[in-house]
């Protein structure tokens, strides 16, 4: 911890090429303004989060560390392990510039304990245009249409859904179905209240039925597959659709394709428009007090600077956490997202990292994955199990 006042160690899990390139944009500006950046990458979100916490407990914290905002971060704050960046936030009026849901999540006791750097959308549907043409189907607008289209694709020898069979990917698809079948109000209410009636409702049954109906449309190799392999299947045309966050665009760009051209992006079929957000953020260890050190404050400042927001998010494939930066230099998918988010009603939270307590989040992942992978569980049983898991975790 005895580093120079302008030095900040940054612990993060961004180790892949596009992530590192994006983070380099932040670093460039931070260093240009006199800061010194000490980089500590640790692959894997779980590993990195654990390392950050453990080092804090061990008395050797990293000054700035990537973390998900929400319940867990507040717990760290509770133990006095975090510094706040209120000074920067109020100077720059974050309250106004960030989406209210994010503001709420980034604050503990009225203090900003994290700097959100971007917004990823999770209810995206990527598709291979050539594959759709070959099977003679259009981009489906509802889940019923999707099932019909999927059948046609299957008949044409194309894998309808390129799915990475890992719990979090299965959950992303499930949440898209949930949003698409039950609507955004239901989604918001369900995950904010975890209400028993909603969990038991017929709507929910229908969600499970729809979700179950997708099972025949994935290939045998799905379980355990990484998301980028699934994306690559869509790029190559082996698979037609993938339900994935907008980070998939990075993979598409890496393959030399402009998102929205041969590989299209659209929101997953839904009865109304909404954007399931997930946010990357950085938190600040309490180094000598409750207030952020100059280096930490500088980091917070840099991360939310409009130019950095644009440069970073273009590389990362996400959209700026600040909705007031100009959108015109982004790709068409991102522009759609930014436009959508201007309407606050479309703001929904992912259950992955900050929407619900992590215990519930885990329970959701477990039970959805279990349902998806079981061969003999009926939708009713799946629903019951989902309900049970959530109540158990609350």
């Amino acid at each position: 911890g005895a580093l120079h006042a302008q030095t900040a160690e940054v612990l993060h899990w961004w180790t892949s090429g596009s992530e590192q390139a994006a983070l380099a944009e932040v670093r460039k500006v931070f260093e240009a303004s006199g800061g010194e950046w000490v980089d500590t990458p640790i692959a894997g979100g779980g590993n990195a989060r654990a390392a950050a916490v453990n080092r804090m407990l061990g008395g050797d914290p990293a000054a700035v560390f990537q973390f998900s905002i929400g319940q867990q971060l507040r717990e760290l704050a509770d133990q006095g392990l975090l510094a706040n960046v209120d000074k920067v936030a109020s100077e720059e009026n974050w309250d106004q510039k960030l989406p209210p849901l994010i503001v709420k999540a980034a604050k503990y006791d009225g203090d900003y304990i994290a700097a959100p750097i971007n917004i990823h959308g999770e209810n995206w549907m990527f598709y291979n245009k050539a594959a759709l043409e070959k099977a003679g189907v259009d981009v489906p607008k509802s889940w019923n249409e999707f099932v019909v289209a999927a059948q046609k694709l299957k008949d044409a020898g194309i894998i309808p859904i390129g799915l990475g069979g890992q719990p979090w990917q299965e959950r992303i698809m499930f949440n898209s179905v949930l949003l698409g079948v039950a609507g955004r109000e239901f989604y918001a209410k369900l995950y904010s209240t975890l209400d028993d009636d909603l969990l038991d409702s017929d709507t929910m049954r229908k969600v499970f039925e729809t979700f179950a109906a997708l099972k025949p449309f994935v290939d045998e190799g799905s379980p355990g597959r990484n998301w980028n392999e699934a994306t690559s299947m869509v790029i190559k045309g082996d698979a037609a659709f993938q339900f994935m966050g907008d980070w998939a665009k990075g993979e598409i760009i890496a393959a030399g394709i402009e998102p929205g051209t041969t590989v299209g992006c659209a929101f997953a079929p839904a009865i109304d428009t909404a954007y399931i957000m997930t946010v990357d953020a950085f938190a600040f260890s309490a180094m000598d007090g409750e207030e952020a050190t100059p280096a930490q404050a500088k980091m917070a400042h840099v991360m939310l600077e409009p130019d950095v927001q644009i440069a970073f998010n273009k590389k990362k494939g996400s959209i700026p956490a600040r909705l007031d930066v100009p959108a015109d230099s982004f790709d068409s998918c991102a522009q759609t997202a930014i436009k959508t988010l201007q309407d606050e009603k479309t703001h929904l939270v992912s259950t992955g990292l900050f929407g619900v307590p992590s215990a519930v989040s885990g329970a959701i992942d477990d039970s959805i994955s279990n349902f998806w992978n079981s061969t003999d569980m009926s939708p009713a049983e799946g629903q019951a199990q989902f309900h049970q898991a959530i109540s158990n975790a609350k």
Partner: protein
């Protein structure tokens, strides 16, 4: 008789192929280009073998990183060595001394203590990370190599003690008596008589501990801080990221590079290993 022999070698050959083929796949994949990997079967030999992936794994790819390090394994190799060597000697040494004290010096409760210690072999280290973190912090060595070494000693001592105690139990009692009559106290008996005797088992304990410590990821990640990140953490950074294109040839090369020291140890010491096990672990 002849056919028996044939069947014998046949079976051994099949077993050897089954054991070796995954290693073969790794090596051959590491020598292929990414195009070949995408389009071919994992069992085919590389069409145009090259060591590009190995170079990338060792030196990293500076274009892709933030520039502090290039992300290769080379930077953390020495860290691993600095961790493994003292941790190896301390954990084996402590196990040897403890095993010796338990086996050679008739003490009340020695068996109870040994039984109690054995439980340590079965505790998943992940489960008790928090109290260990606090303990190491209170000792003021969290995030340092000495801290990490201590943790390895803690998690290694049950196993090494078991090996040595079981071996020393087979040493004839007369030998200990003779040494006591010669006036050899605790340490002289250990240094001059028991330790030289235990060379075979020492070899086995060293090899196994070396493998465990070298291959450790979790403890290095948790207790190494910034300075003490071993090679396995670097390996994880290289191959473990969820996002971005996967370079399987580099992954495999990196994996092989990480495994190379332990692999070498086994290749060089195979005979000693079996003999050591025969001398100690089994006799019981």
């Amino acid at each position: 008789m002849r056919y028996n022999r044939l069947a014998l070698y046949g079976l051994l050959g099949i077993a050897a192929i089954m054991i070796l083929s995954p290693v073969f796949i790794m090596i051959s994949t590491s020598l292929k280009s990414m195009d070949e990997i995408r389009n071919g079967s994992i069992f085919t030999l590389p069409a145009d073998p090259g060591f590009a992936a190995w170079g990338k794994a060792w030196f990293g790819d500076c274009a892709k990183t933030l520039g502090d390090t290039c992300g290769g394994l080379s930077s953390s190799f020495m860290t691993s060595v600095k961790i493994v060597i003292p941790a190896l000697f301390l954990s084996v040494g402590l196990g040897a001394i403890t095993g010796y004290a338990l086996a050679a010096w008739k003490m009340k409760g020695a068996n109870v203590m040994f039984a109690a210690l054995l439980v340590g072999m079965f505790i998943p280290p992940q489960v008790t990370l928090y109290p260990l973190i606090i303990m190491i912090r209170e000792l003021g060595i969290f995030g340092t190599i000495p801290g990490l070494i201590l943790v390895h000693v803690i998690w290694g001592v049950a196993f090494t003690t078991m090996m040595f105690r079981n071996f020393f139990k087979t040493v004839p009692e007369d030998l200990l008596k003779a040494a006591r009559i010669d006036g050899a106290g605790f340490w002289p008996l250990f240094w001059h008589v028991m330790l030289p005797l235990s060379l075979p088992i020492l070899g086995v304990a060293m090899i196994l501990q070396f493998t465990y410590i070298w291959n450790d990821f979790l403890l290095g990640l948790t207790f190494g801080g910034r300075a003490g990140q071993p090679m396995t953490v670097a390996l994880n950074n290289l191959v473990g990221s969820q996002f971005g294109e996967k370079e399987y040839n580099v992954d495999m090369a990196a994996t092989m590079l990480t495994a190379l020291p332990t692999l070498a140890v086994y290749l060089l010491s195979g005979r000693m290993f079996v003999r050591g096990i025969a001398a100690g672990a089994v006799k019981g």
